[in-house]
Amino acid sequence: MWDVLRAETLILRMGMRLLAVAAVMGVCSVHVMAVPKRVVSMNLCTDQLAMLMADEGQLVSVSHLASDPASSVMVTQAQRYAVNHGLAEEIFVMAPDMVFAGTYTSRASVAMLKRLGFRVEQFEPASSFEDIEKHILRMGELLGRPQRAKELIAEFHRRLAEARGGEALKRPLSALHYANSYTSGAGTLAAEVVDAAGLRNLGSELGLTGTSRLPLETIIISNPDIIAGERLAGEAPALAYETFQHPALKAILGGEPMTGVADKYWVCGGPFTAEAVAILNAARRKVVGQAHP
């Protein structure tokens, strides 16, 4: 009886030790692989961070969205890389030693690539300034460019500080109004941007979380000081955009255009997100009648 138990304990202990050894080896292998030579990114957000940080020749390909001026702030830089569409087959033939992907996009392709033995590093969408810093640090570690990561974070802080300026006690109400009458509620990057710009976010005040619907009716009746969203120029038409042409919206804006914050500044988090803060802060100053400092 005791022998059996001892034997089991032994086996368990050996198992544990093996696991520990494996873990150490794992750590080692991570360490050895730490500087990848052929990196492919298949998600707009990792595209931009990788382009900001990768060493010369280290990044091979970025997704097609990186060269879409509506979504990406780095269209010119993206021209230097091969384009992928997040398909496993495309990535496979590029033979990368590290793949960057988002946690929500191209899930089937990511699962396939993992099965094929590729090292896939997934990044959650950034939902706060803290996330942006974490992502930059992690990307820096993975690419073997920690110094560059620190520089970028410093740049982000500097740009944020510039963008903020001139906060008053009065915090005007701002409604974020996107296509299909969607808005950003509490816990989103956009909500933090609005907050940093010295504004109150209508979505958060109404108890909405994440990206959810905020009907035009509710915006009108809440009478916000600022209505902000993407001002779409030269985009292909869709019913989703009809809400921007609605007579009720035009009436409450009093003939002024909506405060245009391009999607590209906050669909992904990066140092460039500070630009969204700057735009909204300028709109706030206009509302409270504050001159530019």
Binding site: A179, N180, S181, S212, R213, P215, L216, E217, T218, I220, I221, N223, E235, A236, P237, A238, L239, A240, Y241, E242, T243, Q245, H246, P247, A248, A251, I252
Partner: protein, 329 residues
């Protein structure tokens, strides 16, 4: 039931639902504020919500519903086919295709009237194809098969057009075109569709006496001076004008045109000239009720109208098929 009483009851029902529809919405206005806003002496925000958001929505529900109920009754009477309705026959799907082409190519933005006109064009092609394929004396089965073929083809082209659009939202909007919605429609949509809907409905109403005569058989109708080719032309133009314009602003809303005439037929003694006005009223009430329900059941979810009408209508459709089969056996 007395015809006058039935019409009165339905008018009352539509009126009550219209008022309820004006009172329902995410802004949560109390009735007094809502009423003052509607007549334009309340605060500015309430006025905008009532006049620019809720009023067009409630008006469109009535226009679209009346179109569907009336055209269903006319199609069922003219084709002498209990399964005929603009949705089943693919007229709605074809009108959607026309509207989709107008909107997503940017034509409707340059020239707003292109939207209802393109949808009417789509509907016209569908009806013509249907009459060519199945003819006036087609069996119900042939007609439904032709309708399914046209509907599938139009839906496929609609999906293709939406998928080819460079706009990332376009592909998702197939849901709107297949299930219909009146969310955040504006007065612009009312002005674009109402003239064509009214014109179409007037044409369809004018068919009452002819349909009465036709229900007695083609020979009797001919002896009463009814010209079948003229009736067909008016039915086609009326249906395409009204259904096309309605679909252009609301998407396709299924089952209303099928179910409403069936529910009301026993109450008017199967007389087409009496069925037409009550079906129009019944359709208006049905769509108005569905549009209230989508806002009450799932506020903030933007539930599509077709979801509700299908939940009520599809079981009815199945029952109708069983009835048909029993009659054929």
């Amino acid at each position: 039931m007395k015809f006058g009483l039935l019409v009165g009851l339905l008018v009352g029902l539509v009126g009550v639902l219209f008022c309820v529809s004006l009172g329902v919405g995410p802004a949560g206005l109390d009735p007094v504020t809502a009423f003052l806003g509607l007549i334009g002496i309340g605060n500015r925000a309430a006025e905008l919500v009532m006049q620019e958001i809720r009023l067009p929505r409630a008006m469109l529900a009535i226009l679209v519903g009346a179109t569907l109920g009336l055209s269903g009754a006319v199609l069922q009477g003219y084709l002498r086919n209990p399964l005929a309705d603009p949705g089943v026959l693919g007229i709605g799907a074809s009108a959607s295709l026309g509207a989709v082409l107008a909107i997503y190519t940017g034509l409707a933005a340059l020239f707003p009237l292109a939207l209802p006109l393109a949808a009417i064009g789509g509907a016209l092609i569908a009806v013509s194809a249907l009459l060519l394929l199945a003819g006036r004396h087609a069996t119900p089965l042939m007609l439904i098969l032709a309708g399914i073929a046209i509907s599938s083809l139009a839906t496929a082209f609609t999906s293709l057009a939406l998928n080819l659009s460079p706009n990332p939202f376009a592909a998702l909007e197939i849901v709107f075109w297949m299930l219909g919605s009146l969310t955040d429609r504006s007065m612009l949509h009312v002005w674009l569709s109402a003239p064509f809907i009214v014109l179409g409905c007037v044409l369809l109403f004018s068919l009452g006496r002819s349909l009465d005569a036709l229900s007695l058989g083609p020979d009797v109708a001919a002896s009463m001076g009814i010209r079948p080719d003229r009736v067909r032309l008016v039915a086609v133009l009326g249906t395409t004008s009204a259904v096309g314009a309605a679909t252009a602003v609301s998407g396709t809303i299924g089952f209303v045109g099928l179910v409403v005439p069936h529910l009301l037929r026993p109450l008017v003694g199967s007389q087409p000239s009496r069925l037409l006005p009550v079906s129009a009223l019944g359709g208006a009430a049905a769509v108005q009720a569905a549009d209230i329900a989508v806002r009450v059941i799932a506020p903030g979810r933007d539930l599509k109208l077709g979801v509700l009408t299908a939940i009520v209508g599809a079981p009815f459709f199945l029952w109708l098929i069983l009835e048909q089969r029993r009659r054929l056996v």
